[in-house]
């Protein structure tokens, strides 16, 4: 038997407002709480109700055989709570089908692990509590922000009680082994690593929409053939990690609906949630990703998030505030500081972003004001 294990990331940052240097020391309106309607690209809004409804329909049609997992960031949860009650309710309905597992992640979708274990743990606990409160389930599986992974991260979340952790499954670290198995993170005892199937995930996330791709348009039959080819080797699980924004592509959910039917025609294939995968299949070996927390220190790049001076400077300065902010116990400042940690803010400063300088400058203006606020309230 080979299981297909979907995991969808639902995330939206708390957007920053346009904040020029004149505002430093005068206003503290760092965040744009308007409904983000003018934002480019995917946004979480009422349209998602229909996506979720369709998704629940697919589960029902499969009579509970189709399963998946979702990881909703804390900043996205905040927006559901503040603006989109119906949508929050539809996620709850998904969970109530018993076919959807909720994963845990750092609340503010931050790269905090790379700078502060203490802050990382605070955010993970915050998120776990939020999931428990909103969905009445206790997450057992952890997915770090942008699936940043390392032996030490696995150890840390194992200590926090998690049974599984998602990882990108970097080919070079697998040393020729298949990503379609469960591995034991080096230096851990109980926690298991679920590795992303890079090529099949990319086929859905990227190639699926590319009309110049040789396999365009991808049919459910073709995709199932590829899965079966991999399953023939006796692989346990095909982990497809995708972004929730894919739901907004008109062709995706109809494809998924047919794919589910196609998969279920095969006796040797099924769908499982991450927890079920861990309960079902044996460990294949150890998985060793020696670095992660030390990335920041050794100046290693995290492509997209920590690849240039802008990002390093910004992220280092935000974490330098940790002790002072926590010592003061000012909830407003802590909230601002937390929301400024979201990885998206740094991604907007990455080399491929044409407006990276503006993004950096805007962020640094805000950060400068926050630093001043912290300093001022410390001297009060």
């Amino acid at each position: 038997m080979t299981s297909i294990c979907f995991s969808f990331q639902v995330h939206q940052p708390t957007l920053l407002s346009d904040y020029d240097f004149f505002q430093i020391g005068h206003t503290h309106a760092y965040f744009d709480h308007s409904d983000n309607q003018n934002r480019e690209g995917f946004i979480i809004d009422e349209r998602c109700n229909s996506y979720n409804k369709k998704f629940i329909d697919i589960i029902k049609q499969s009579q509970g055989h189709f399963k998946a997992s979702f990881s909703i960031s804390g900043t996205a949860l905040d927006q559901l709570t503040d603006y989109h009650h119906n949508l929050q309710h539809s996620f709850k309905q998904m969970v109530e089908t018993g076919c959807v597992e909720m994963l845990c992640q750092p609340y503010y979708h931050s790269l905090s692990y790379l700078y502060s274990t203490k802050e990382f743990q605070r955010q993970v606990i915050l998120h776990r509590e939020a999931i428990q409160e909103k969905f009445q389930v206790s997450p057992k599986i952890f997915r770090n922000t942008e699936t940043v992974y390392g032996n030490d991260i696995a150890r840390t979340v194992e200590e926090m009680g998690f049974l599984g952790i998602l990882s990108d499954g970097t080919d070079s670290l697998l040393m020729g082994r298949s990503a379609n198995h469960i591995y034991l993170p080096l230096g851990t005892r109980r926690i298991r690593a679920l590795l992303k199937n890079q090529s099949l995930s990319a086929d859905l996330a990227v190639n699926f929409f590319n009309s110049t791709w040789v396999n365009y348009p991808l049919t459910p039959v073709k995709f199932v053939e590829w899965i079966k080819k991999q399953a023939k080797n006796g692989d346990s699980t095909i982990n497809l990690f995708l972004d929730y924004s894919i739901f907004s592509q008109p062709s995706f959910l109809p494809f998924l609906e047919k794919l589910v039917l196609e998969v279920l025609k095969n006796k040797e294939l099924d769908f499982k949630t991450p927890s079920e995968v861990l309960d079902t299949y044996p460990v294949k070996g150890t998985y060793d990703v020696p670095y992660s927390a030390s990335w920041a220190e050794v100046g290693k790049d995290l492509p997209g998030w920590m690849e240039n001076y802008l990002q390093r400077e910004a992220i280092e300065r935000i974490y330098r505030l940790e002790d002072a902010i926590k010592a003061q116990g000012d909830e407003e400042l802590l909230l601002s500081w937390s929301n400024l940690q979201t990885a998206d803010h740094f991604y907007r400063m990455s080399n491929q972003e044409p407006k990276r300088y503006d993004a950096y400058i805007n962020y640094m203006n805000i950060l400068t004001d926050l630093e001043q606020q912290v300093k001022n309230s410390a001297s009060d």
């Binding site: 020029d20 240097f21 990002q311 400077e313 950096y360 400058i361 203006n365």
Partner: protein, 486 residues
């Protein structure tokens, strides 16, 4: 190749660009460059540079051209002789006299009819379009205009006269049109002595000569646009029918075999203000010579900086085109918040007195330092202490100075209305009128180290790929298109 400014006599980017391109081209083509002023002792190149001043001082007889012996000394000229004040000249010379004069030089210079904003007044002046103008041709000028005391002194130059004109130490200045006339005549004579296949002319001062030789030899002509009258004067100020430089530019382009612009920006300006179809213009960006030594300012040179404040540096002529009003407004906004900043203005120009007075009026005089004209080595010294290079030009065909600053490791804030913005990814760009944004950028560069480091690192990478060789290859491709196929 016909140039106007040339090292070591520099006032702006034109001379540097002509030199850089000519040098790279000379590796691939047999090149002769004719400029009003050169100093053979400054160069030791394998290609020919003919300075008319040197012809004049040696021997006005063109047959005895000697083209190479050299010994280096360096001389620079003050940049405050403004190359661009044609309007003033027009006041000095009766318009009709100049029209007649340039018609004689350039038979193609016809009244402008295609430009939408051209009024019909120009059509009243029906000038004889004879190749060699004589006073007898003037009767076609209307009576009304003759009343305006039309004492036309048409220069028809003898070799002695051209020799005297060509010996003038200034290449621009008050007698610019006379100089252009002399240049045109001398080039025409030279063209019979020197073999060539393509005429490549840099900016409007050389266009009459280019079209003149084209007419006589039927060789193809390439016009290279480094700057336009609409940049120099402001497009809203230039009245096409009254502006001779504009008319020379437009008439020449209409008759050229190819037009090269130093940027896409300039190509767009050509379409907007000259009705030149963009597909007929090839943008070829300027480049830089690699620096000989490590250009990055060392800790030591910072240590010698006498001023504690952060320095925002402006290098260039202080003229309308360069946006001094926006500089002032940006400075006012920035210094309201950032107290430790000074603006260093290195250069002179017709608006320098205005800038000095206005900065005092707005109580900003303590935020400004005026150096006057600086020789290149002084500019280098200044750049080594600069924190940011600032160029808020209203219309900058290229803006070589910004690229030079980047080469020295100085982050740049420049206006989007510049050609260099197309190649310098590592510069921060905003519309010249958006002084709030410009000030925001300056503030960020002066306060956020990550941005500074990132821009410097990026400019060092990207500048290595911007070479004159690349530009020369593109120019050669343009030649290839217009040369008769063998």
């Amino acid at each position: 190749m016909l140039g106007w400014e040339f090292p070591p006599f520099l006032t702006g980017g034109l001379g540097k660009a002509s030199y850089g391109l000519a040098k790279a081209l000379s590796q691939h083509a047999d090149l002769t460059l004719v400029v009003p002023k050169s100093d053979k002792t400054y160069f030791n190149e394998n290609w020919r540079v003919i300075g008319l001043n040197e012809l004049a001082s040696e021997n006005p007889d063109l047959a005895s051209l000697k083209l190479s012996e050299t010994k280096p000394t360096i001389r620079y000229v003050e940049a405050d002789l403004d190359p661009y004040l044609v309007e003033d000249l027009l006041k000095k010379y009766p318009k009709q006299a100049l029209e007649a004069f340039f018609n004689s030089l350039m038979p193609h210079l016809s009244p402008i009819q295609s430009h939408p904003s051209a009024s019909n007044t120009i059509q009243e002046i029906k000038l004889e379009q004879s190749p060699i103008f004589t006073p007898e041709a003037t009767p076609e000028v209307t009576v009304e205009q003759q009343e305006t005391e039309l004492e036309i002194n048409i220069p028809i130059f003898t070799p002695e006269q051209t020799s005297i004109i060509n010996s003038d130490p200034e290449v621009y200045g008050a007698n610019l049109l006379t100089k252009i006339a002399a240049y045109t005549e001398t080039v025409r004579q030279l063209s019979t002595e020197i073999p060539f296949d393509v005429i490549h002319a840099h900016d409007w001062m050389t266009f009459p000569a280019a079209l003149q030789i084209k007419q006589e030899t039927n060789k193809p002509v390439v016009l290279h646009i480094h700057s336009l009258e609409t940049d120099r004067q402001g497009s809203s100020i230039v009245v096409p029918e009254d502006n001779l430089a504009y008319r020379i530019e437009q008439a020449a382009m209409e008759h050229a075999d190819a037009v090269i612009s130093v940027s896409e920006y300039t190509r767009d300006q050509l379409e907007k203000h000259y009705d030149i179809a963009p597909e007929t213009v090839t943008p070829i960006h300027n480049a830089l010579e690699p620096l000989k030594a490590n250009p990055l300012p060392s800790e030591q040179s910072y240590a010698t900086k006498g001023i504690k404040d952060k320095l925002v540096v402006w290098v260039g002529r202080v003229t309308h085109q360069k946006g001094p009003a926006f500089l002032l407004d940006t400075a006012a906004r920035l210094t309201k918040v950032a107290k430790n900043v000074k603006f260093v203005i290195a250069g002179t120009g017709d608006l320098l007195p205005w800038l000095i007075e206005e900065s005092a009026k707005r109580k900003l005089s303590d935020k400004f330092l005026f150096t006057g004209f600086l020789a290149p080595e002084k500019v280098t010294a200044l750049l080594s202490q600069a924190d940011v290079f600032f160029m808020p030009s209203e219309s900058e065909p290229f803006g070589l100075a910004a690229m030079e600053a980047a080469q020295f490791g100085i982050p740049c804030v420049i206006s989007s209305q510049s050609g260099v913005a197309e190649v310098l990814q590592s510069a921060l760009k905003a519309d010249y009128w958006d002084t709030n944004k410009l000030a925001n950028y300056l503030y960020a560069l002066l306060h956020y180290e990550g941005l500074r480091k990132e821009l410097i690192a990026q400019s060092q990478t990207e500048l290595t790929s911007i070479t004159w060789e690349q530009s020369a290859q593109k120019v050669l491709a343009v030649y290839g298109k217009i040369l008769p196929q063998e």
